[in-house]
């Protein structure tokens, strides 16, 4: 194993507080990504400090639920959130920069969304 990776499942309501704690502890946002599961979507928020990797995992059972944006804590989060919005159709509230679905000019809108298959 190259490195130990902490993968932590959390609820949507705990996302901002957990991310805020990591920010205060000096972690940087490494990436945000979304994964399609058989009946749900899973959003991964990855952080790093001194090569220690932590990943917060949020499961979204209802695709109409909007996730709170992390861009108020980690400004760069807006890029990842706009990407996820355009590819998967997940909504985010209070993004620092909201491209309103125009971040990616893909031929198929929300091409990674399960409802498109």
């Amino acid at each position: 194993m190259i490195e130990e990776q902490k993968l932590i499942d959390i609820e949507v309501k705990d996302l901002l507080s957990q991310a805020g704690d990591l920010c205060k502890s000096g972690y940087r946002l490494v990436q945000i990504g979304c994964t399609k599961l058989p009946e749900t979507l899973e959003v991964n928020y990855s952080f790093d400090k001194d090569y220690k990797f932590i990943n917060l995992k949020v499961k979204l059972n209802d695709l109409t639920v909007a996730l709170p944006s992390l861009s108020g804590i980690f400004w760069s989060a807006f890029l990842y959130e706009n990407e996820i919005h355009d590819l998967f159709g997940i909504k985010f509230t209070e993004m620092a920069v909201d491209y309103k679905g125009n971040f990616y000019r893909t031929a198929v809108k929300r091409g990674f969304n399960p409802q498109n298959e």
């Binding site: 940087r28 946002l29 980690f74 890029l79 920069v97 091409g111």
Partner: protein
């Protein structure tokens, strides 16, 4: 007094300094940039989606084709993700060969960047001399892998090609000679007044901003942050003695200096790997299918790349997510542009070494 009139100038997606399409809306007051808004997606390929239809062993070919510059490290990072999930022990010789090809990738990528930057500020002779050197590195890559763009030498479980001890000795001899030529060329970047005039004090990214914005690679290290994913010890890097190259001024000149010093560091790493590599197997047999998830992190020439793989025990992966270094450096670019002159924008965009092909995976 009236505030200065603001104008929005579109920069890209087609622009002489941009080999690939990215767009910036530059809000300017006279010639001064006050805000920059990026947009992407002109050539988004959706390659991540292909994992649902391609066998996980074969997908390394697709991963390598995400980018034509850091192709080898894309393939390698994908292989590492699969190998970690399947707990495959890659033979030591394969790991050393992976280090050698990774550093050859870094050499040709940084030389490419130096040439493009010289071209961007109109120093054509320097551009051509730099790329002449880069050709020699590509020749080594072709001699050892058969490819100049796509190496095709990494596979899940090891590597496909070997480098004989005689060939390795020849490569080291050549690299010693090239190091002298690289020194001559890079001395111009370091000392020439016209180059310094375009780079020193331009586009300063503070240490705090670089870290908090999630910048990676030379863009991050030029601001004084000592983070280099090779220190994780993947492949054979745990056996290599090196210290990440950092600078502290955070300007365009510092980003240039980091890449120049990394050229010599890459040659040193290749020499260390050549001295330590032992005869042995090139690969292990891979049986079964992956089941689990892993975030593989490696250091590309442009910085940290992440391959997240989630597998469900079938031959088709559930998810592949690639976070490329250029994507991570875009927030830093957006922060360092305000305050600069419009004429400096092309050079500033280049100083993050943007790779849109990676970003539009």
């Amino acid at each position: 007094m009236n505030s200065p009139k603001r104008t929005i100038i579109p920069f890209g997606p087609q622009h002489p300094v941009l080999p690939e399409p990215i767009h910036l809306d530059l809000v300017v007051e006279d010639e001064k940039v006050v805000e920059a808004i990026p947009s992407l997606g002109f050539v988004h390929r959706g390659l991540e989606k292909l994992v649902e239809k391609r066998d996980f062993i074969d997908f390394v070919y697709v991963a390598e084709r995400i980018c034509g510059i850091c192709s080898f490290i894309h393939g390698l990072t994908y292989c590492i993700a699969i190998e970690e999930i399947m707990q495959i022990q890659v033979p030591a010789r394969a790991n050393y060969l992976r280090v050698i090809w990774s550093e050859l990738s870094r050499l040709h990528s940084h030389l490419l960047w130096l040439g493009l930057t010289a071209d961007a500020f109109g120093f054509e002779a320097l551009f051509m001399h730099t790329w002449k050197l880069r050709e020699k590195i590509l020749d080594i890559i072709e001699e050892t892998t058969g490819g100049r763009v796509i190496f095709g030498s990494s596979k899940v479980g090891g590597v496909r090609k070997d480098i004989t001890p005689e060939k390795l000795a020849e490569i080291i001899f050549k690299l010693d000679s090239y190091a002298k030529e690289i020194k001559e060329i890079t001395d111009v970047f370091v000392n020439d007044s016209s180059v310094k005039h375009r780079l020193v004090g331009v586009g300063i990214l503070s240490k705090q901003d670089a870290y908090s914005l999630g910048a990676v690679g030379p863009t991050l290290r030029a601001s004084g942050v000592n983070i280099d994913m090779r220190k994780l010890g993947y492949a054979a890097y745990k056996e290599i003695d090196f210290t990440p190259v950092t600078e502290t001024s955070g300007d365009s000149y510092a980003r240039c200096l980091v890449r120049i010093r990394e050229l010599f560091q890459s040659i040193d790493i290749i020499k260390q790997a050549a001295a330590k590599i032992q005869p042995g197997e090139l690969e292990v047999k891979v049986s079964g299918t992956p089941n689990g998830e892993f975030f593989a992190r490696t250091e590309q020439p442009r910085g940290e790349v992440i391959y997240y793989v989630k597998a469900n025990g079938t031959r088709f992966l559930q998810r592949l997510r690639v976070r490329t270094p250029t994507f991570a450096n875009i927030p830093a670019l957006v922060k360092l542009l305000p305050g600069c002159q419009l004429a400096d924008v092309p050079v500033l965009v280049l100083t993050i070494d943007p790779c849109i092909s990676c970003t539009e995976r």
